[in-house]
């Protein structure tokens, strides 16, 4: 099967999946109760005229299926509706908040990947040594460390006790660090990225190390050594490429975990990203945001999955597309 057909098939599954999730959320919100009633339960002072205007504005007087299809039709035109609480177009909000989330998560993935490769290779080439043992041990610990608790500790040490890094937000409100917007933003990113990268590094290190140990035992590595190649070349060019492939699939899973738990990360650091927006939206039942954001996050996850699938094929030609 050609790569193009494979991609088309995956895209088909993606569309199905994204629609599935949005249907679940939509009917969950609605089947459990009229959003207007929920809103009234939260804000008892709301008047009848306001309710009527909201009803007609969000087409709540129509049937559920019609409502959903209307919403889906609007989404196809990139119109996610208007936030009830902020009274702003949701699509614009998703862009601004989404950028903040993607910024720290992509950076964290890149950093943890580089770190994990270096650490795992060092450990695997010295299997059963003290270095290897301590790497394994700390990675095992790191895998069990709740990310948000690590974040709390980081804030305690680096912003409250040492006062080096800011404890909240993505930008300074008054004066920026050295009057540079870029430096200021990087300065704010240090702690959240450190927390995200730490967790990913632990998982990736364990994975790459165990693959590396297997690969280093294989014949072609011995052949490469026997032909007089430098140690570093054998390890990084020949062995790593093979040890890296399983880690690649895991990248999509890690990205999914990070994005899914963004509400926690971003609450810890008061980071103005998708997770933060989501929490306030759930608390205040800002229902266009909940719908739009679930859709966008699912879509990001699915695209990440697709990209890893494609990268897989390019790195490992043995993989057959089925």
């Amino acid at each position: 099967m050609g790569i193009l057909r494979f991609i088309i098939r995956r895209l088909f599954f993606m569309v199905f999946l994204v629609i599935g999730v949005s249907v679940i959320i939509f009917f969950m919100i609605n089947a459990i109760g009229d959003p207007i009633e929920l809103l009234m339960a939260e804000r008892p002072g709301i008047t009848a005229e306001v309710i009527e205007s909201i009803k007609s504005y969000y087409h709540l007087d129509r049937s559920l299926t019609e409502q959903y299809l209307a919403w889906l039709g609007n989404v196809l035109r990139l119109d996610f509706g208007t936030s009830i609480v902020y009274n702003q177009p949701v699509s614009g909000m998703l862009l601004t908040f989404g950028w903040e989330t993607v910024k720290i998560q992509v950076l964290a993935i890149i950093i943890s990947l580089l770190l994990a490769i270096v650490i795992a290779v060092t450990a695997a080439t010295r299997q059963y040594s003290k270095t290897d043992f301590s790497v394994m041990f700390s990675a095992l610990l790191g895998r069990s460390m709740p990310g948000f608790f690590l974040g709390i500790l980081l804030i305690l040490v680096f912003s409250y006790w040492l006062g080096i890094f800011p404890s909240y937000g993505a930008h300074s409100t008054r004066s920026m660090l050295m009057n540079s917007a870029l430096l200021d933003s990087l300065w704010h990113m240090v702690l959240p990225v450190a927390m995200l990268a730490y967790f990913n590094t632990a998982t990736l290190t364990l994975l790459i190390r165990s693959n590396m140990v297997d690969v280093l035992r294989q014949d072609f590595i011995m052949a490469a050594r026997a032909s007089g190649l430098k140690h570093s070349r054998v390890v990084y060019r020949h062995a790593l490429k093979n040890a890296f492939i399983p880690a690649l699939t895991y990248l999509a899973i890690l990205f999914g975990l990070m994005l899914g738990t963004a509400p926690v990360t971003e609450t810890v650091f008061s980071w103005p990203g998708l997770g933060f927006l989501y929490i306030t939206a759930i608390q205040q039942l800002d229902y266009p945001i909940i719908m739009g954001e679930t859709l966008v996050i699912t879509m990001m996850l699915v695209v990440a999955n697709l990209l890893t699938d494609i990268a897989y094929v390019f790195i490992d030609p043995r993989i057959r597309l089925e």
Binding site: P146, I152, Y160, G256, G260, P263
Partner: protein, 318 residues
């Protein structure tokens, strides 16, 4: 760690298994013999036992009642650890150590309860698709794939929040710890796909084995084959994934509570973090103690699962 003791002990184990006394326990005894040699596994078991100990004996050990705010009256809220309050007091005058101890049963109930729900669903669906195969199998695999890709945590958050509003004024409201029960069930309902995957793989593998064939030949029905022959042999792998799942569920509940969607009536570690996080700068001990408790519990279950893998499925590790 597990390298050196591969060759000789295996024969030892065989001999041990053939002793008349050991035969009665069979696989369990063999597993325990292997488990005992694994330091990480034993460490995990110790941590889990400590948590269980505190969960059961909590009321006898905890120095204060969990709702005792007397420190507030003496203007000793947010006081650092001292002899009177071993881990200090938090912003409401609660004794941190007592509250953390009373959080242990909550964590275990959440972990074990949600995994019970998940195990029932997962083993049933995975077992069916592995045993029957064909269309049912295809359908279930697509379904689990769906669960693996969707952002489960945020869907759970919406569900917990919405359910919390809907039950207001209904009969359900009379159930004690309703919010916590909701969280347990939802975690179970979203936690079954990994269990189903393992169950399916095990059923696929085992249904082709000679002993199952033999059972079928002597006329055993499907039900008896599934429950008496296949399921007991699939249990070791299932126990590992369930132990991992318990740690995962405890972490999930902690995160849900940390975001403020937990059960206000229950004392859980995530809830303690949520209440005390604002005062991190003034009373860090009130946040550090529950955090460490979560860490120890999750670590315990993860290491225990690691040890169980080595003990029962040595094939999986080399």
């Amino acid at each position: 760690m597990k390298n050196a003791s591969e060759g000789t002990p295996k024969t030892n184990l065989k001999q041990e298994a053939q002793k008349p006394g050991a035969r009665k326990f069979g696989m369990l005894m063999l597993g325990w013999q292997r488990f005992k040699r694994n330091k990480t596994g034993l460490f995990g078991l110790t941590l889990v036992s400590i948590v269980f100990f505190f969960a059961i004996c909590g009321p006898f050990i905890a120095p204060y009642h969990p709702n005792d705010q007397s420190a507030m009256l003496e203007f000793r809220s947010k006081s650092p650890p001292s002899l009177k309050n071993l881990l200090g007091t938090d912003r409401m005058g609660y004794d941190v150590a007592s509250r953390v101890i009373y959080g242990a049963p909550t964590a275990l109930v959440v972990g074990v309860g949600s995994m019970l729900v998940a195990a029932v669903i997962g083993i049933m669906l995975g077992g069916i698709s592995g045993y029957v195969g064909g269309m049912a199998d295809e359908l279930l695999m697509r379904f689990t794939e769906f669960f693996l890709v969707i952002p489960v945590f945020i869907v759970i958050l919406v569900m917990v929040r919405i359910f919390g509003i809907v039950v207001v004024g209904s009969v359900l409201e009379k159930i004690p710890y309703l919010n916590l029960s909701t969280i347990i069930v939802i975690l179970g309902v979203f936690g079954w796909p990994p269990i189903a995957r393992i169950a399916r793989a095990e059923f696929l593998r085992l249904k082709e084995m000679e002993f199952v064939e033999a059972a079928r030949c002597i006329g055993a029905g499907s039900v008896s084959i599934i429950f008496r022959h296949i399921l007991p042999n699939a249990l070791p792998s299932l126990v590992v994934i369930i132990a991992l799942g318990i740690g995962g569920s405890i972490l999930m509940e902690a995160m849900i509570s940390f975001l403020g969607f937990g059960d206000p009536k229950a004392i859980s570690w995530g809830q303690l973090l949520y209440f005390n996080y604002e005062f991190l700068k003034i009373a860090p001990w009130a946040s550090i103690a529950p955090g460490i408790a979560i860490f120890i519990t999750v670590l315990g279950f993860n290491l225990l699962a690691d040890g169980l893998t080595d003990a029962f499925n040595p094939r999986l590790k080399e």
